[in-house]
Amino acid sequence: MREIIQSIKNLSIGFKSQDGREIAILKNISTSINRGETVGIVGESGSGKSTLALAMMGFSKQGLYPISGECIYKSKNLLDLSDRELEKIRGKQIAMIPQNAGQSLTPNLKIGYQVEETLKLHTKFDANERSIKITELLNKVRLPSPSIMAQRYPHELSGGQQQRVAIAMALAGNPDLLLLDEPTTGLDVTTQAHVLELLNEIAKDTKTSMVYVSHDLGAIAQVSHRVIVMYAGEIVLDGDVRQVLRSPLHPYAHGLLNSIPKLSLPGLPAAMPGTPPQPDENSKGCSFYERCELAINKCNSSKPELKSLSNSQTKVRCFRHDKLEEKELNKNVDLILPQNSNEKRVLNLDNISITYARQSILDQILNRFSDKNITVKDIDIDIKKGETIALVGESGSGKSTILKSIAGLLSIKEGQINFKEDINLSPDVRNRTNSQLRGIQLIFQNPDESLNPSHNVEEILSQPLKLYFGLNGKELKKNIIDLLKKVRLSEKYLYRYPRQLSGGEKQRIAVARAFAAKPDLILCDEVTSALDVSVQAAVLKLLQDLKNELGTTYIFVSHDLAVVRAISDRVAVLYQGRLCEIGPSSEVYKYPSHPYTEVLLGAVLEPDPDLKPKLAAEDIVEEKPPENGCSFQGRCPRVIGEKCFKETPPWQISNQGNAIRCHINIKDLLKNQS
């Protein structure tokens, strides 16, 4: 019998609504965590996964309170303990690693001091022992030269390093249970892979139990032994990681896995219909009934219990899970047909360079550059009509910067932006003509930010229609309703404000606003990264449908390589504002030739516990692009010598049609990989 660290029995947590009703966020959760086990809790926003993790250390977010049930740790119910008693447990026996380590570290205290504080609180070491222990802890989380690191301030560390410090602090008290709330969500792909690797090693070395909360099935797959899937505050599936991810026995988990874009599968993932229920909707039946493809009448009238299956440890909350075994995963996928490249040109970026550095007055007079580390340099891309080109890269790769300058919001230092055949676009949006403005539209990452909270949907959509076409009255209204139909929303949304819409609906409105201008080119800036997975698939599908219908061209910026794989015809890989590789996405994903593309693709996490990421390059973060030579010289695992540091690498074109910038012969690069 395995030792149980914490067991949760019939836990419900909720809040009082304004009209005095008790609304449950978590409903009757029962589960337990064994020693040495890593449990992944996965669910979309609002599913109650963070609330559950916090309850495991006896904490409720403001306004929430436990309605019933208990969290038992060492035969004590954490929910009954006083703050004084909880203090002894928290941090020492149960520790938490927050999502954003940068914000959870005090900015004006040195790293070493902050780790020491935790040690002082939870151990009886004297000063000497503590300083040894600090080095040991920082070493344990694989921070380079720990004694120097201890003297630094948080802002001097990269995001990945800050996360490592947070892990070191959590480990300081030798906890029995480690709670991780989306610890890698804000990190770049390569850094994320390294942090997960570290967590795996720590779990193995220290036999600490971990609870890993995330919306990202890829990350969950890498670290967990067991996975709990949550939906609308309930556990719907609980089982071994391979069982859950390979043959999910709950329709929600099935749909979720299907809606994730995967590197190995080209084409769009299948979207899940509908939205999760609001916490105050009380239905007698299954909470997933509304969105379920297998639902029968019974599902609406009675609630399924979380039942153990006879032949395994898996528990599932569904009447019809046996029907799911026949359904295959990763099958219903819309393939994108490659676009005809003989079409006309829509946009041409001719040797674009952009810098954020200010020019000195002397330089301005002499009309020369003094900035040697230009943010974005030598971008040369030709975009054909009806094509979807993706710009990918980690944070700081200059992909959003390029979009902004195409939109005319950021001036370029060198080069030329040409629109359509022969229109020379002014770098300043104010000098562009009405038709040029109309031709290029932007969709932003976060619809909460990009829609004016004081405008209702009608006002939001009327802005471009009034501006570009001078519509008003009945005609304006008719056009707005047409737009809503185009993004699959009904007329009744007209008078809603953004706060009354769900995330996916908001992004649809943002898409509709961009299409209102009947543009030739739409710039999509991380349009799906603020959305839940199931919603993301639907928005991607919408974008693809609109493109097929209207022949629009997209420039799609994303850090998510799987999403890019799903939607793009062509990919441009950027590192530190320089192009590394550009080519048809099928080829780039099949034969990543440039060392950086290889590293990047290797680090992508797939929702499969047996597909481990390849950690080729060091996870260091470069603040500035290098002055000379190849942009990837600092991290490249294939550096061949002086040449890489001195000379800008030449373009090479492979037989498959992807162009790369590297000193190594492209054939040798491909040979080395296999």
């Binding site: 932007l442 004016n452 802005q463 008078y495």
Partner: protein, 299 residues
């Protein structure tokens, strides 16, 4: 599988009227707002109808009834010229309210516009305008007001714009700060990318989002302006006798306070109650709007 559109939100268009009534209900549902608003409304009603209801002529001098204490015929007594204090108190707020109300509107209009504009364009224009505003803030308002009044006279046509100008400076700062909160958000960038001009951005995108902050600040400024106007009258630069005005009445009666307290108590209570009323309302107004701002999807 069913159609899963959520039908929980009513589909009615939310009109301006609905919003105003929503805010008013929020104000009246808290005690401070209830009391404050009642006081302000009472004062406004009195100011409008006082000429019709006052028992005596406000400028009638009668040397036989000088400094009578309050009694049945003269509820608040009489002043040193034998005028009825009750009549003069009821009518004493008329000019003050009129001048400061329109002064506040001017202050909100120019302060709000300049603040939003500076917040939006930034750069050199912002720097220059804000330094000028800072310079004005350094000048004691009372000296500047006295100077204006001495040069241009004490007519309402002078006082309204002068007070409006001096009390708009604070609104500039508030509007600019509120604009800075909004300006970094993507919908402003979206509007710029669409090619909207500055004025369209101010009117359509910024104003609806900073309006609340400006209105609340304007309400606070109103009470200060009222105090300033009464101070001017007190110093003899506001309303000229025999027109009744609280500041003037306090000034006239203050020498006799030790034995004829009634001639100053009434205008003092009237003036302070109005200022307290405005402050309470402004406070409740801010809270009412604050609640509205944090309102998320209906739960």
């Amino acid at each position: 599988m069913k159609n899963t559109e959520l039908e929980t939100i009513e589909e009615k268009q939310i009109s301006t009227f609905d919003r105003v009534s929503e805010v008013l209900i929020a104000i009246f549902s808290r005690p401070s707002g209830m009391i404050g608003f009642s006081i302000v409304i009472l004062h406004i009603i009195i100011a409008i109808i006082s000429p019709l209801i006052v028992p005596y002529d406000y400028k009638e001098i009668n040397s036989l009834i000088m400094l009578k204490p309050p009694n049945e015929t003269f509820f608040f007594g009489t002043d040193q010229l034998g005028r009825d204090v009750f009549t003069r108190t009821l009518m004493g707020g008329r000019i003050a309210l009129f001048v400061t109300f329109f002064g506040t509107i001017i202050a909100i209009a120019w302060g709000g516009f300049v603040g939003i504009f500076c917040g939006l364009v930034g750069g050199k224009i912002d720097d220059i305008v804000m330094r000028i505003i800072d310079a004005f803030l350094a000048i004691p308002w009372i000296l500047a007001m006295l100077l204006i009044v001495v040069i241009l006279g004490t007519s309402t046509q002078v006082l309204i714009p002068a007070l409006g100008f001096f009390y708009g400076k604070g609104i500039v700062r508030v509007a600019r700060a509120a604009t800075h909160d909004v300006i970094a958000r993507d919908f402003i960038m979206a509007a710029k990318a669409r090619g909207h001009g500055n004025f369209s951005i101010i009117w359509n995108e910024l104003l609806p989002n900073v309006r609340d902050a400006i209105m609340v600040e304007g309400a606070m400024r109103w009470s200060w302006m009222l105090l300033a106007f009464s101070s001017l009258s007190f110093l003899g630069f506001g309303v000229s006798p025999p027109t009744p005005d609280w500041g003037l009445m306090i000034s006239e009666g203050r020498g006799l306070m030790s034995f004829a307290y009634w001639s100053v108590i009434a205008p003092i209570v009237a003036l302070s109650s109005l200022i307290i009323g405005i402050n309470l309302s402004a406070d409740a107004f801010a809270k009412a709007l604050g609640i509205d701002r944090t309102q998320k999807a209906p739960v």
